[in-house]
């Protein structure tokens, strides 16, 4: 968790004050307050209470606009977690829009899967359980969109690299790391220096039409997830392993891909895929220098949405395939996942029953998320849900001890 600093308080305080003063000049304020209480179903039934305040401050004039999105997470007995999810300015021309500042950039057609949606890194502090607008992190960048009818050309230049936000060391969401002994972390190479040479560039062409909507994209970026370079200490006398040092380091990654969506009668079809060039995978071969192997891989999905008897279904098959596979790589050559969602609205859309699930086919593990959402009145929502992890290993099974139920109460304004 990012802790509260005096400087941060000042920035937020000034932002809020600024917003309040400007309110008289038609600054739009919107957002929500939310209380979230969750309890683990196993062990000591540990519980979490989180209070959130999320504010959107927006103002626009004819050709310009700005938005700031400060947020506060409050956990009892812990310091406040305060930040700016977004803070940017827009300049609108006839056929060009330019957005400058910290912003979330969302690409692709997939739901809940990140294939071409790789511009904004992820906040995995609570694995994939936060709402999607909270998982996506803003990046400081310049985005330019050029419009030609229903065609859009977009370029994003990010001079400052932002990596995936991983859970704290003591968090129950910290992913498993499989080492023969407790490693020592050397974070000296974790950061990417701020200079022009280290910036990231993403381009996209997209079109919507009566027949099909599609996107074609490319990126020259840093891998948001650091490769874990491993140095071993071996006692020369008995050849025994005496220590492991893990050095996280980000590497350059090239990405090219696309996505589409189209309707065929009552079906909405979608597909998305990307080729990733130069990904570092960890190896199981402890004798290998650095413990990593560089490979290319592809990641793609096919999905369909449909409705039967007022129940809306959405399902996707996702595959990640490592090319020119080496048996020493820890990851499977093919990793297959299914996502499935079903929901139905009742009582004039005030009550929704929903079930969302990730199902890992390699390890027969899953994350199952049933939810009941009830709108007590407009803008006031009660949500009762559960996060159930199935299996004992894999992306979801590793959190088998973290099954939980939760209640969220949210007030939108």
């Amino acid at each position: 968790m990012r802790h509260l600093h005096g400087k941060t308080i000042s920035v937020v305080f000034i932002s809020l004050l600024f917003a309040t003063v400007l309110n008289a000049n038609s600054v739009d304020l919107s957002g929500y307050a939310r209380t979230y209480a969750g309890a683990l179903l196993r062990g000591d039934n540990d519980y979490i209470i989180q209070n959130t305040f999320n504010l959107n401050i927006e103002h626009s004039r004819d050709k310009v606009a700005f938005k700031a999105n400060p947020y506060i997470y409050h956990y009892p007995n812990l310091e406040l977690d305060i930040g700016l999810r977004e803070a940017y300015m827009d300049i609108y021309f006839n056929t060009v829009d330019i957005r400058i500042g910290k912003q979330q950039v969302i690409w692709g057609k997939a739901d809940g899967v990140f294939i071409t949606d790789i511009v904004s890194p992820k906040d995995l502090s609570e694995f994939l359980l936060r709402d999607f607008d909270e998982i996506r992190m803003g990046i400081t960048s310049v985005k330019l969109d050029y419009y030609l009818g229903d065609n859009t050309f977009e370029i994003v230049w990010a001079p400052i690299f932002t990596s995936t936000q991983m859970p704290d060391e003591n968090s129950i969401w910290r992913p498993e790391m499989d080492f023969p002994m407790a490693p020592v972390f050397d974070n000296s190479k974790k950061d990417v220096d701020m200079n022009i040479k280290n910036s990231e560039v993403f381009v996209k062409y997209s079109r919507i039409s009566s027949v099909i909507d599609f996107e074609i994209m490319g990126g020259y970026m840093w891998d948001d997830d650091p490769a874990m370079h491993i140095t071993k200490k071996i006692n020369p006398q008995n050849n025994q392993l005496t220590g492991i040092t893990v050095t996280p380091r980000h590497h350059r990654l090239g990405v090219g891909g696309g996505s589409f969506t189209s309707t065929v009668g009552p079906l909405v079809l979608r597909g998305e895929g990307a080729f990733y060039y130069g990904k570092y995978f960890n190896s199981e071969d402890m004798t290998l220098v650095d413990g990593v192997i560089e490979k290319n891989y592809i990641h793609y999905l096919a999905g369909v949405d449909f409705t039967v008897r007022d129940i809306h279904f959405s399902t996707q098959f996702v595959q990640q395939a490592i090319l020119d596979y080496d048996e020493q790589i820890k990851n499977d050559q093919f990793e297959n996942t299914i996502t499935a969602m079903a929901f139905r609205d009742f009582l004039r859309e005030t009550l929704r029953l929903e079930l969302f699930s990730y199902i890992g086919l390699n390890n027969y593990d899953a994350l199952v998320r049933p939810k009941i959402t009830y709108k007590l009145t407009d803008g006031f929502t009660l949500l009762l849900g559960a996060n159930l992890f199935v299996g004992s290993e894999g992306n979801f099974g590793q959190y088998d001890e973290n099954d939980m139920i939760y209640l969220k109460v949210r007030y939108d304004f």
Binding site: D97, D133, G265, V268, R348, D378
Partner: protein
């Protein structure tokens, strides 16, 4: 006027009169519905829509929408920006509907929480729009060829001379077994419409409360849909209506869905 000219005029009237009378009598249910369908509403239109959902206990929920519509000749594009309640603020919806019979609408929704424009299926025309008493199909222009129309009678309704038309859908599985519409003569505007469910029971009634001539077009402003089976009502009030202002085609794009009003 000379006698000869007068005779010619009288002859012309005598020739034309029966055909005029005949043509008025001859209007069929389909022709009347076609005239309603073809009634000009301008090349483009924008306005603010307030939708009030009122349940049997009188509790009210209000949705506010800013909408823009433009006729592109062979298709009509509509974009709606939801401004209230707070939890749907900045959501937008775009619909492209086609004159070509049988061609489905194309629809997209922009959800600000996902920051993504999603294509959705327009197949669920029987779904209720935002929990109201209007289905998506009720809000669209149903093609006259989709139903068989019959002129039941002519009568005065709300002080206006009306045709009463019964429409029975060609599609067997359609959500209504029949509808009955009161259409104001010469204005070609529906005053009232009764909807009957699949069992033939009266389901709901649409009543037009207010319409005005804006520029040269009759525009429906206030209407009310009452579900008699559930005793639930939805009021639709359209205000600040502007017609033929020259809304650019670029208003009906993904760019505008994301940017908002």
């Amino acid at each position: 006027m000379s006698i000869k000219k007068l005779n010619l005029v009288l002859m012309a009237i005598l020739i034309a009169l029966p055909s005029m009378i005949f043509s008025q009598e001859k209007l069929t249910g389909l022709q009347i519905i076609q005239k309603v369908y073809d009634r000009p509403t301008g090349k483009d239109q924008n306005g603010e829509l307030v939708m009030s959902l009122i349940n049997s206990r009188g509790n009210q929920r209000v949705r506010k929408i800013k909408q823009f519509v433009k006729d592109f000749g062979n298709m009509e594009k509509k974009i709606m920006f939801f401004t209230s309640p707070a939890d749907v603020n900045n959501t937008s919806f775009m619909n492209w509907s086609y004159n070509e019979k049988g061609k489905d609408d194309d629809q997209w929704i922009y959800l600000p929480a996902l920051k993504k424009v999603k294509r959705i299926s327009s197949d669920s025309k029987s779904d209720y729009f935002m929990g109201s008493d209007f289905t998506y199909d009720d809000l669209g222009d149903r093609h006259p060829a989709s139903d068989k129309h019959k002129l039941l009678r002519e009568e005065k309704f709300n002080g206006e001379d009306c045709y009463v038309i019964e429409s029975i859908p060609n599609e067997e599985e359609y959500m209504y077994s029949r509808t009955v519409t009161w259409i104001v003569k010469d204005k070609w505007i529906g005053q009232k419409k009764e909807f009957y469910d699949e069992d033939g029971e009266h389901l709901k009634t649409l009543s037009v409360k207010k319409y005005e001539k804006i520029k040269d077009y009759w525009i429906l402003l206030d209407s009310e849909m009452h579900n008699v089976q559930k005793d639930h009502t939805t009021k639709m009030e359209l205000s600040n209506v502007k017609v033929d202002t020259g809304i650019p085609a670029s208003k009906f794009t993904e760019r505008m869905m994301k940017r908002g009003i």
